[in-house]
Every structure is written in structure tokens, then in C-alpha cells.
């Protein structure tokens, strides 16, 4: 009997344990279900977030693409502008050189005209023209002719090089040779070469208005002077104008001075008698 009671008690105890186990199992299952519920909710949340993020990323990519395209356009514009400015700079540099050359020529012209009109001695004027042709124009061989009104010929008044040996009597008739032709027509003549063949490379009439009073013929330039530029042509023509008036005024002054001395001589002679 006692044994049965113990068995019954043992069975109760085991059933209690079993019940306790079931209870725990139930609680655990409930906990698992709750966790499962939470996780499912989290999955839904994450999926939603993922969709949102994809949208945001897509939008951002689109924005960056647009920005990139705008930047490319800007870069292209700046590149074009850079090349334009570069070209403009080159153009300005070239213009600067040209202006510098023109300034140089103007300075030369100023000094030349100042020197030409600073004397009334015909020999000094001729010397001055020679200096200008060598030092400013860079001529190695040239001839300065003045018109002899009595014979209508060109007379060699100054030269550099071998021109005197080539000319008979140092005179050229109007219309004869290029020098005579230039004196006759009053038109300047320029060739492209630097006169290495010994031929005339420039022949300029010395004119006062339309009256030709002389001719400058340049036969050869200095070795380092490659040729005459259009600026040289202009400078030579301007110089020719100054040289012509300086030559004529010095000749007239010398003539007037000589006449004055003659008259004074006569007057003195009359006074003595």
C-alpha cells in the first residue's frame, strides 16, 4: 500500500513536471511567435526602406547625371573661351610688336627730320641724308642725286659704295635709267629683294609738292637687312619729303648768302670810292 502511494505520488510529481514543461514550452512558443511577428514587421519595414532608398539613389544618380552634363557644357564653353582668349592674346602680342615697330619708325622719322632741318649748309644736309640712309634705313650702297635745273640732269651729290664708278660724269639725264625715270615721273620704285645682285632695290623721288628736286637710289642693303618692309617704304617717302625741303632751303640759303655777300662787297667798294 505504501509502495502504491509512493508510486502515485511519484506519478503526480512527474505529471507536475510534465505540466511545468508544457507551460514553459507554451511560453517559449508564444515568445517565438511574438519574435516572429516582430521580425516579419521588421522585414516589411526594411523592404519599404529599400524601395525608398532605391528611389532616392535613382533620383540622386539622375541629378548627378544632369549636373555632369551641365559641367561638361561649362567645361566646353570655358575651353572654347580659353582658346579665344589665347588667340586674342596672340593677336595683342602681334599688335604690340607692330606698334613698337611703328614707334621706332616714328622716333627715327623725328630724329631724321630734326637733323635735316637743323642746318642750312647744303653739304651738311647731304651728309645728314647719307647718315640717315646708312644708320636708319640700313642701306649699304646708295646714291643721292639732285636736279640740275640748267641741264635737266640728275647730279650725284652724295653716295656710298661703287655708284660713282658706274656713272659717267656722275650725271644721269631725265628719263634715262631707273633714276632718270623716277625723276621724270615722280613715282617711287621699290623691289622686293635686298639688292644683292647690285640692282636698284629702291628709288625715291625727292619732291616739294609736285616738283622733283632730286632722287635717292638705294642699290644694296646691309647684309642683315633682309629687305624693305611696307613700313620702310612709307618711312622713306616721308623722309624724302623732309630731305627735299632741307636740300632746297639750304641751297636757297647758300645762294641768298652768296648774293648778300656780293652786294655787301659792291656796297663797300662804292663807299670806298
Amino acid at each position: 500500500m505504501t509502495q502504491k502511494t509512493e508510486e502515485i505520488l511519484s506519478l503526480f510529481s512527474k505529471s507536475e513536471e510534465l505540466l511545468e514543461m508544457f507551460r514553459k514550452g507554451r511560453a517559449f512558443t508564444e515568445e517565438l511567435m511574438s519574435e516572429n511577428e516582430r521580425l516579419r514587421y521588421r522585414i516589411v519595414q526594411l523592404e519599404r526602406e529599400k524601395i525608398d532608398l532605391t528611389d532616392t539613389l535613382m533620383k540622386e544618380v539622375e541629378r548627378l547625371k544632369l549636373e555632369n552634363s551641365q559641367m561638361s557644357q561649362k567645361l566646353e564653353f570655358l575651353d572654347t573661351r580659353f582658346h579665344q582668349v589665347e588667340e586674342e592674346n596672340k593677336d595683342f602680342a602681334q599688335r604690340y610688336i607692330e606698334v613698337e615697330e611703328q614707334n621706332e619708325s616714328l622716333a627715327n622719322l623725328y630724329v631724321a627730320s630734326y637733323r635735316l632741318h637743323s642746318t642750312l649748309d647744303p653739304a651738311e644736309v647731304v651728309l645728314c641724308i647719307k647718315e640717315i640712309l646708312v644708320n636708319m634705313i640700313g642701306s649699304e650702297e646708295f646714291g643721292l642725286f639732285v636736279v640740275d635745273d640748267e641741264t635737266s640732269e640728275l647730279v650725284l651729290a652724295g653716295y656710298e659704295g661703287e655708284i660713282a664708278q658706274r656713272l659717267e660724269r656722275g650725271r644721269v639725264a631725265f628719263g634715262e635709267g631707273l633714276e632718270g625715270l623716277v625723276a621724270q615721273t615722280g613715282q617711287a620704285f621699290f623691289t622686293e629683294d635686298a639688292g644683292e645682285l647690285g640692282e636698284v632695290c629702291a628709288c625715291i623721288p625727292l619732291k616739294i609738292k609736285e616738283r622733283v628736286v632730286g632722287v635717292i637710289a638705294m642699290y644694296k642693303l646691309l647684309p642683315h637687312k633682309g629687305g624693305l618692309t611696307p613700313l620702310d617704304h612709307r618711312l622713306l617717302e616721308l623722309l624724302a619729303g623732309h630731305a627735299a625741303s632741307a636740300l632746297v632751303s639750304s641751297k636757297l640759303y647758300a645762294l641768298a648768302d652768296r648774293k648778300l655777300r656780293t652786294i655787301e662787297g659792291f656796297m663797300n667798294l662804292l663807299r670806298v670810292r
Binding site: N103, A107, R115, L222, H224
Partner: protein, 129 residues
Amino acid sequence: MSKKAFLVVDDSATFRQLLCMSLTRLDGISQGDITEAVDGQDALGKVRDNNYDLVLTDIRMPNMDGLEFVNKVRTELKKGDLPIIIISTKGADEDIEKGMSLGASGYLSKPISMTKLRELVSDCLGEQA
């Protein structure tokens, strides 16, 4: 450019005037900074009595030519540091070579180019003209 003294030597008054005008077109140089001499002899006396920073001399001149002048400045006056630029009428002739061997600092050919003059003056003075 700080204040400098220049000596221009040439028997041609026209060229002297032109050279003076060209120099005054460089920054900081005025007419008062430039002295003129008519030949080598005249220049030698001026170099002996004064201190110049740069001398520009023609080669072919009466009395004393530019080459003799350079030689005397270097040997008699013992002014080895004085920059002297020789100016030749012909481009690359023997005169230039001789002048350079005698102690010239540089050379120019007539007609003078403003660009070359500026470069040479800057080189000789060791500063931006």
C-alpha cells in the same frame, strides 16, 4: 630700373640722337642719364673721369675707333667690369668678332632694333629694362 649712367659714342650726330632717343624709351632712363662722345678719344677721357654703367659705341669713327677704345678701356683704364656694347654698320663682320675678343659685352647692328637694344641693355645691366 635704378638710376644709371650711359655713354653713347658715335661720330654721327644723327645716330647719337637716335640712340639717345631709343635709350630714353626704355623704362627709367631719361635724357639726363646719357652723355655723348664724338669719338673713341673723347669717350676714353669721359670714361676715365666718370663712372658709367653702360657704354654704347660705334666701331668706325675718326681719331680713335670703337675697337681701340674697347681695348684701351680694358687694358689702360683696367675697367674690366664696365659693360660696352659695340655697334656695327655691317651685320656679322670681322669687326664684331674682334670687338668681342677685345672685351666688348655685346654688339648691335645698324639700323638698331628696339627689341634687341632692350634685351642687350637688360643683359648688360643684369636687370629688367
